[in-house]
Symmetry: C2
Subunit: 346 residues, 2 copies
């Protein structure tokens, strides 16, 4: 089945490009509230499920035992831009368990935030695992490792924590399985950008998991409490979960706890809408997240979240985006298609 | 009509993302040699037609009068990475007509080549119009302006050269119209990233224009000679047309004059295959050029160009690409779909 067109890019008044995809909106009982396209096909959620992968960090007692603050918890759920404020939190978190960047197994990446990358270069520094967009999540894994093993010989225990059979990753995968209700042993498995396993999961199960994250319903009590705490941490520090100018940061700075949203690579986007008790999962066929998945998510937020006029105008600026060129001239727009809006309203 | 799937991205063994698009391969007589998808719908060719926009630079006599060398001509056809070797040529070209970066109207852009952007920042410099990927094309426009007007008062004459009604842009648009055989006054018009007009043109007409560029057939003699000279210049300096690690540069470094290819924004890719007398035009629906259009173009080159074993292996590495993560681990692949290869062979 072909997924429908959800987003188009116009240049002048002509369509220049277009994006197909699927959208699932479910409540925590598994009821499908809206569905476009194939929501049963397994998709790799990539970084969109970092909050699920962070549940054991809190549920295990690691966060409390180490005194992790909200910034550290938000960064554990982040695909951050590698800006100085991000790397400072990651370094601080690693310090709490007596480790440093050398223990991170996410790989070296220049800051994904261009300005931060240039500033880093200008200061004479190089990319590192700290500036990898996943370093906060990995610091969280190492805190979990510390809780499981203790500080003595932690570096040795943690070595290889990204592998699917390491005790840390088994715990993380179990949390993902519990939240989504998927048998991940049977799911297609790949390796993520940061070297941990990623499992292909149907959009409807991802949306269900986010409805559970937003409500606590359907989660074991420890995971429900962990989800509540992680959401609150991100709502207090939305900069930590993404960064300057980023969609997730901008939306949560504006809407606070009413939206918990998280982009993933390859056009995946998940969200919890706690007031409505809904979870959302989007996958663009072409893997475009920087623009297509964001525009679709903005339209979902507009359709379901109660917004005042100023908030509605703000969100419309994200679902119907003016495109400008290098001279700042308006050259076109990027917008959620009327068919997407109609399907979400019905 | 839906365009067919041309390219897929696999993670592990599962399909993660996919790209639809259309491909036109024509000879200079307008015979369709291969067609996938809708090749009649107008698409904005963006930077893929820079060679057509550079025809007047040579045909007018500007290149000869100013003594432009092959590097300058190749850069006039370029979407370069803003690397120092690129900006040096642009500055030199501007100097020949007594102008500097202040006369460029393409807008300020940090080098699109990440390493060059970081090196520029590290050296304490800022982005400028010189580092804009289109600066070579614009320097060519200013050389044409000099030929049309003379040096006296050139800066004043050239002001606003990006506008559709400026004498320089009228000449450039006329060359595009002549090569494609499209009535551009009737075509959908938009503004390009560098502020010049861009006209939506059917893929079959773009492929025809590139068959003409590759053979000279169907072009006025001055344009045919200009096309030959521009192709030769790019074949001698393929670095100038794109840059470090870029598809266009790598392919033309390897295959020389046998392929003249040029990527455009939003998933457009055009090429001339002079030995076969063919022109190629590709548009990916989703606008993805960095990966999807390139993979499709590599498959087209494999299908039509006579390659020795080493060249075939090289091209296969561009149409069936191993994807690695931040740790250098193999995580998947990006590949031309068998249906695309089959349609090109038939």
């Amino acid at each position: 089945m072909d997924n429908p067109l959800l987003v188009e890019a116009l240049r002048g008044h002509a369509r220049e490009s277009m994006h197909r995809g699927a959208v699932a909106v479910l409540d925590a009982d598994g009821r499908v509230v809206a569905a476009l396209g194939d929501i049963h096909r397994p998709v790799f959620p990539r970084s969109a499920v970092k909050v699920l992968q962070a549940l054991p960090l809190v549920e295990s007692g690691a966060a409390d035992a180490l005194g992790l603050d909200d910034e550290a918890l938000a960064t554990a759920c982040a695909s951050h831009g590698g800006e100085p404020a991000h790397t400072a939190v990651v370094e601080r978190t690693l310090g709490l368990v007596g480790l440093d960047a050398g223990a991170l197994e996410c790989g070296t990446q220049w800051p994904s935030h261009d300005r931060a990358a240039r500033a880093l270069a200008a200061s004479g520094h190089e990319a590192s695992a700290l500036t990898n967009n996943c370093s906060g999540k990995h610091a969280g894994f190492l805190c979990l490792a510390c809780r499981m093993h203790g500080r003595d010989g932690l570096r040795g225990f943690a070595k290889g924590y990204v592998g699917p059979d390491h005790p840390v990753m088994r715990t993380v995968t179990a949390a993902l399985q519990a939240a989504t209700g998927c048998d991940l042993a049977q799911a297609p498995r790949g390796t993520d950008g940061c070297s941990i396993p990623t499992f292909a999961i149907p959009l409807e199960k991802l949306a269900l998991a986010f409805a559970r994250v937003g409500t606590g319903n359907g989660l074991a009590s420890g995971h429900a409490a962990a989800a509540r705490r992680l959401r609150a941490a991100v709502a207090r520090h939305p900069f930590m979960v993404a960064g300057s100018g980023r969609f997730d940061t901008r939306v949560m700075e504006r809407l606070g706890e009413r939206v918990f949203c998280k982009v993933g690579a390859e056009g995946v986007f998940c969200a919890a809408l706690p007031e409505q008790g809904l979870g959302v999962a989007i996958k663009m066929d072409d893997g475009n997240n920087a623009r297509a998945a964001e525009v679709a998510m903005a339209a979902v937020v507009e359709a379901f979240v109660r917004l005042d006029d100023a908030e509605a105008t703000f969100m419309r600026g994200l679902s119907d985006v003016t495109l400008r060129n290098w001279n700042g001239l308006e050259v076109g727009s990027l917008r959620a298609l009327p068919a997407l809006r109609a399907a979400l309203r019905s």
